[in-house]
C-alpha cells in the first residue's frame, strides 16, 4: 500500500514537474499616436500547457480603475485581435481609427493555470500581466503655404510646424509617396521649404512635407496642372477590313477623369464626337492614364482621316491628333503585277535576243558541265565548231 502511494506521488510529481508556468517572451510597447491613425500591440507568452492570452483596457486612476476586456470586433469593429497557439502563444491587437477616448493602458494577460477562469478565484493570482500605454493626441497644426498650386509655372512650398509639444529631429519632402532626396534636413526642424522652378506634368502631384517627430506628422500640398495628352503614334496605318487601335496617353496630376474622341470631318474640319454608341464598329476603353479607340472592319473612305483624343481633368482639357490611313487590300497588288510584267518582258527579250543571234546554240541547252577544260580535243571532231565559236 505504501509502495502504491509512493509510486503515485512520484508519477504525480513528474507530471507536475513537466508543467511550467506562463512567462512573457514579448511584451507590448507603449506608443503615442495621432487621431485616426492605427496602432498595434504585440504579446508573446511561453508555457506548458500553452497559455491563453487576453487583452484588457484599464481606465481611470489608481484604486478606481475600470477594467474592460477587449474582444475581436469591440469598439464598433475598430478592435481586431489575432492570436495563434502553436508551440507558444502569440497575440496581436489592432486598434483602427483611433480617437481621443482610446487613450489609456492596455494590458496583455496570460495564464495556463487550469483554474484560471474559475469565478471563485481572483484573476490576479492565476494570470500574469504586462501593460503598455497608448496616448492618442490631436494632429498638430501644420500651416502649409500655399495650400494648393493650380496651373502655375513655378512655386515655393512652405510648411510650418508651430503649435505642438512634439520635438522634431528634422524634415523632408515627398512626391507621390517617394522621398525627394535633396530635401532631407536636420536644420529645418519646424519649417520646411521646397521650391519648384519649372512646373510641368513631371513635377505635378501630391507633395508632402514630413516632420521627423514621434509620431511623424505631415501635411499635403497638391500641385495640379493641365493633363499632358499625347498620341502614342501620330500616324497610324490600318488595312482594309482589318482592325486598328488608336492610343492616347496622359501624364500629370491629376490624371484625366474624362476622355472624349472626335473625328475630324474631311470637308469642313468640324469635330464629330465618337462614342461607343456612334457606331458598333467603334469601341472606346479608357483608364485615367490612357484611352484606346478600336475601330473594326476598316473602311477605306469612311475611316481614313484625323482623329482627336481629348482628356479632361479638374483644371481643363488637352488634346492631340492622330492621322489614320487605311490601306486598300489590293494596294500592294498593282506594284506586284507591274514587277511581274517587267520580269516576263525582260526574260522574253533576253530569250528572243539569244535565239536571233545564235540560233544553232539552242541545241546546246544541255549543259552537262563535266566537259573538261583542257582535253582530248584533238580527238574530238567537233573541234571546228568550237574553234569557230571561240573566234567570236
Amino acid at each position: 500500500m505504501k509502495l502504491l502511494w509512493a509510486v503515485a506521488a512520484l508519477l504525480l510529481s513528474c507530471w507536475r514537474a513537466d508543467a511550467s508556468t506562463a512567462g512573457f517572451i514579448i511584451s507590448p510597447l507603449s506608443k503615442m499616436k495621432l487621431i485616426n491613425d492605427s496602432v498595434e500591440l504585440h504579446c508573446e507568452v511561453i508555457g506548458n500547457p500553452i497559455p491563453e492570452v487576453q487583452w484588457w483596457f484599464i481606465e481611470g486612476e489608481e484604486s478606481s480603475e475600470t477594467f474592460t476586456q477587449l474582444f475581436d470586433g469591440a469598439r464598433n469593429e475598430r478592435v481586431r485581435v489575432n492570436a495563434t497557439y502553436i508551440e507558444h502563444a502569440t497575440s496581436t491587437i489592432h486598434l483602427l481609427s483611433l480617437t481621443l477616448d482610446d487613450t489609456g493602458t492596455y494590458e496583455c494577460r496570460a495564464s495556463n493555470d487550469p483554474d484560471r477562469n474559475d469565478l471563485k478565484k481572483t484573476p490576479k493570482i492565476k494570470w500574469i500581466r504586462s501593460q503598455a500605454n497608448i496616448i492618442v493626441i490631436e494632429s498638430p497644426k501644420i500651416t502649409a503655404d500655399p495650400t494648393e498650386v493650380v496651373n502655375q509655372t513655378s512655386a515655393i512650398l512652405r510648411c510650418n510646424l508651430t503649435e505642438s509639444n512634439l520635438s522634431s529631429k528634422g524634415s523632408y519632402w515627398t512626391l507621390n509617396g517617394k522621398v525627394i532626396e535633396d530635401t532631407k534636413s536636420d536644420v529645418n526642424k519646424y519649417h520646411a521649404q521646397l521650391s519648384l522652378e519649372k512646373i510641368t506634368h513631371a513635377e505635378s502631384g501630391p507633395y508632402e512635407c514630413v516632420f521627423d517627430t514621434e509620431p511623424q506628422v505631415k501635411q499635403t500640398i497638391e500641385v495640379k496642372v493641365l493633363p499632358s495628352v499625347g498620341a502614342y503614334k501620330h500616324s497610324e496605318h490600318g488595312n482594309e477590313n482589318d482592325k486598328v487601335v488608336l492610343k492616347c496617353v496622359a501624364h500629370g496630376y491629376p490624371l484625366p477623369t474624362d476622355w472624349v474622341w472626335f473625328k475630324e470631318d474631311a470637308e469642313d474640319g468640324r469635330e464629330m464626337p465618337i462614342s461607343n454608341f456612334t457606331n458598333e464598329r467603334y469601341n472606346i476603353k479608357s483608364t485615367p492614364n490612357q484611352t484606346l479607340l478600336t475601330i473594326d472592319e476598316l473602311d477605306m473612305e469612311g475611316d481614313s482621316g484625323n482623329y482627336i483624343c481629348s482628356g479632361t481633368n479638374e483644371l481643363g482639357t488637352n488634346t492631340d491628333k492622330i492621322k489614320l490611313r487605311v490601306r486598300s487590300r489590293l494596294a500592294a497588288l498593282w506594284p506586284f503585277l507591274g514587277i511581274v510584267a517587267e520580269v516576263i518582258i525582260l526574260v522574253t527579250i533576253i530569250f528572243i535576243y539569244e535565239k536571233r543571234r545564235k540560233p544553232d546554240e539552242v541545241n546546246d541547252d544541255d549543259d552537262v558541265g563535266s566537259a573538261p577544260l583542257k582535253s582530248n580535243s584533238t580527238s574530238n571532231h567537233k573541234d571546228k565548231n568550237v574553234r569557230q565559236r571561240n573566234s567570236n
Binding site: 496605318h237 500592294a332 525582260l346 558541265g369 582535253s375 582530248n376 580535243s377
Partner: protein, 481 residues
C-alpha cells in the same frame, strides 16, 4: 584566235563579251541570296505584333532561311551539274517569288517558317550555287575580278533593300511588302535568263568519263541507293589536301565572321553612342564592302597575286581577325567609325576571294560539287557562331570577349591557311617540276584524271590551266609559276 589554242583547249572560257552580262546576272542572284535574310528583319517587329509571336520565334525565320540556303548546297550542285545553271537559277527565282507571295497570306508563325524559311531558303540556295558555277565557266583569266563583281551584289543589295523595305513597310504593311518583295525576287529569273549556257560539245563518244563524278552519275541511273547518296555528297573531296585546308580555314572564318555584325550596334550603344549613329556604323561597313569586293577582285587578278591567290586569302583573313582583336580598344565614335571602315575592308576582301579560292583549288569541273559540300559544312559554324558569341556576352557581361574570341578564331584560321598553303604550294611546285616532262602528253591524252594524279590534280589543275593559257597566249599576260 590562234589555231594552236583551239587545238589545245575546248571550250575556252570567254573572259569577256557575254560573260559580263552573266556577271550582272550573278550579281543580282547573289545579291538577293545574301541580303534577303538580313533585310527581312525589318519586318519582324510588325509580324511579331500581328501574329503574336515572341522575339526568338521571329528570329528563327532568318536562321532557317540561312540554314536551308547553305544546307541545300549538295542538292543544288547536283542539279547544276545535270541541267546547267540557267534552269536552276530561274527555278530558284521562281521559288523565292512564290515563297514571299504565299508568306504574305500567312496567319501563323509556322506557316512563315515553311514559306519564307524553307521554300525561300531553297530558292536562294539554287541561286547562289548556280551563279557561282556559271562564273567559273565563263571566266578564267579575269575570274577573280568577275567573282569580286558578282559577290559585290551582297552589300549593294543590302544597302538598297534596307531602306526600300522600310518604305514598303510604311506604305503597304508587312503583307503588302512581302508580296512586292516576292515580285522583286522574280527578277532572279531574269538573272537566270542571262546565264546563257556555255557552248559545250555534246557527249563525244570517245570521251571516256574518268571523273568520279561522271561515274557516279552513270551508276545512279542503275538505281542504287548508296550511289544516289554519293552523288549528293562526294566524299572523295575529303582526300584532297588542298580542300581540307580550305575547309578548315573557312569554317573558322565563318564561325567568327557574323557575330561582330550582329552585336556591333549593341556594343556601340554600350560605349555611349546614340542609337541612330550606332545603326549607321553597319551602313558604313556595307558601303565600304561594296567597293572593296570588286577592288579585291581586280587586285587578285593582277599577275603578281593571281598565282599565289591563296596567300591573299589568308592575309585577308588575318587582317579581318586583327581588326576584331583591336575593337575593344575603340571606345569613341570616330574610332568605331574607323573600325567599321576597316571591318568593311576586311570582310569584303575575304568574301570576294572566298569562292575564287575554291575555284582555284578545285578547277572548273569539280567546283560545283565542291561548293555544295563547302556550304553544307559551313552551315554549322554559321548557325553556331552568333549564339556562342551571345553566350559569351551573357556570361561575362562585356562585349570585348566576343570580339576577342571572333578575332582570335579568324586570325588563327588565317594563320593556319597561310602556313598550310606555304607547304602546299611548295609541294605542288616540286610535283610540277617532276611532271613537266609529261605535261604535253597530259594535254592530248585522256589520263589526266587517273588515280595516280588525283592528289596533285586539285591545286595543280588550276595552275596548269593558267600555264596553258600562258603558253598559248603569246602576249604572255600570265606568269608561269
Amino acid at each position: 584566235m590562234p589555231a594552236a589554242l583551239a587545238d589545245v583547249l575546248s571550250p575556252k572560257p570567254l573572259d569577256g563579251g557575254w560573260g559580263w552580262m552573266v556577271v550582272i546576272g550573278a550579281h543580282i542572284s547573289i545579291g538577293f541570296a545574301y541580303s534577303t535574310p538580313k533585310a527581312l528583319s525589318i519586318f519582324f517587329k510588325d509580324i511579331q505584333e500581328d501574329l503574336g509571336a515572341s522575339y526568338s520565334e521571329i528570329a528563327w525565320i532568318s536562321s532557317i532561311m540561312l540554314a536551308v540556303m547553305y544546307a541545300g548546297g549538295p542538292v543544288s550542285s547536283l542539279l547544276v551539274r545535270r541541267f546547267g545553271s540557267r534552269p536552276v537559277v530561274m527555278m530558284g527565282g521562281l521559288m523565292c517569288g512564290v515563297s514571299m507571295v504565299t508568306a504574305s497570306f500567312g496567319s501563323s508563325i509556322v506557316y512563315l517558317y515553311l514559306c519564307i524559311g524553307i521554300i525561300g531558303g531553297w530558292g536562294l540556295c539554287f541561286n547562289l550555287n548556280a551563279s557561282l558555277t556559271i562564273i567559273s565557266k565563263y571566266f578564267l583569266t579575269k575570274r577573280p575580278l568577275a567573282n569580286g563583281l558578282a559577290m559585290a551584289g551582297s552589300p549593294v543589295f543590302l544597302c538598297f533593300l534596307a531602306p526600300l523595305n522600310q518604305f514598303l513597310l510604311r506604305h503597304f504593311g508587312w503583307r503588302g511588302s512581302l508580296l512586292i518583295l516576292g515580285g522583286m525576287m522574280l527578277n532572279c529569273c531574269v538573272a537566270g535568263a542571262l546565264m546563257r549556257p556555255v557552248p559545250q560539245p555534246p557527249h563525244p563518244g570517245s570521251m571516256a568519263p574518268p571523273m568520279e563524278v561522271e561515274q557516279t552519275n552513270i551508276t545512279k541511273s542503275k538505281g542504287s541507293c548508296m550511289k544516289t547518296a554519293k552523288t549528293f555528297v562526294d566524299l572523295s573531296f575529303f582526300k584532297d589536301q588542298g580542300f581540307i585546308i580550305y575547309l578548315i580555314g573557312n569554317v573558322m572564318f565563318i564561325f567568327g565572321a557574323y557575330a561582330p555584325i550582329v552585336f556591333l550596334s549593341a556594343y556601340a550603344i554600350k560605349q555611349g553612342v546614340e542609337e541612330y549613329s550606332a545603326a549607321y556604323l553597319l551602313s558604313i561597313m556595307g558601303f565600304v564592302d561594296m567597293f572593296v569586293r570588286p577592288g579585291t577582285g581586280l587586285v587578285a587578278n593582277s599577275k603578281w597575286i593571281r598565282p599565289r591567290i591563296q596567300y591573299l586569302f589568308s592575309f585577308a583573313m588575318i587582317f579581318n581577325g586583327t581588326i576584331h582583336l583591336l575593337c575593344p580598344l575603340m571606345t569613341t565614335y570616330p574610332l568605331l567609325v574607323a573600325y567599321a571602315v576597316f571591318f568593311g575592308v576586311g570582310f569584303g576582301m575575304v568574301f570576294a576571294l572566298i569562292f575564287e579560292c575554291l575555284m582555284d583549288l578545285m578547277g572548273n569541273q569539280r567546283f560545283p560539287s565542291a561548293v555544295g559540300l563547302v556550304t553544307i559544312i559551313e552551315c554549322f559554324p554559321m548557325l553556331l557562331g552568333p549564339p556562342a558569341a551571345g553566350l559569351l556576352v551573357d556570361i561575362f557581361g562585356d562585349y570585348k570577349y566576343l570580339f576577342l574570341m571572333c578575332g582570335g578564331v579568324i586570325t588563327a584560321g588565317g594563320v593556319f591557311l597561310f602556313i598550310m598553303n606555304v607547304y602546299n604550294y611548295n609541294r605542288l611546285d616540286k610535283a610540277k617540276r617532276g611532271n613537266s616532262s609529261e605535261q604535253n602528253q597530259n594535254n592530248t591524252e585522256q589520263n589526266q584524271n587517273t588515280i595516280e594524279n588525283q592528289e596533285q590534280e586539285s591545286s595543280s589543275e588550276a595552275q596548269r590551266e593558267l600555264m596553258d593559257v600562258a603558253q598559248s597566249d603569246p602576249a604572255g599576260q600570265e606568269e608561269t609559276s
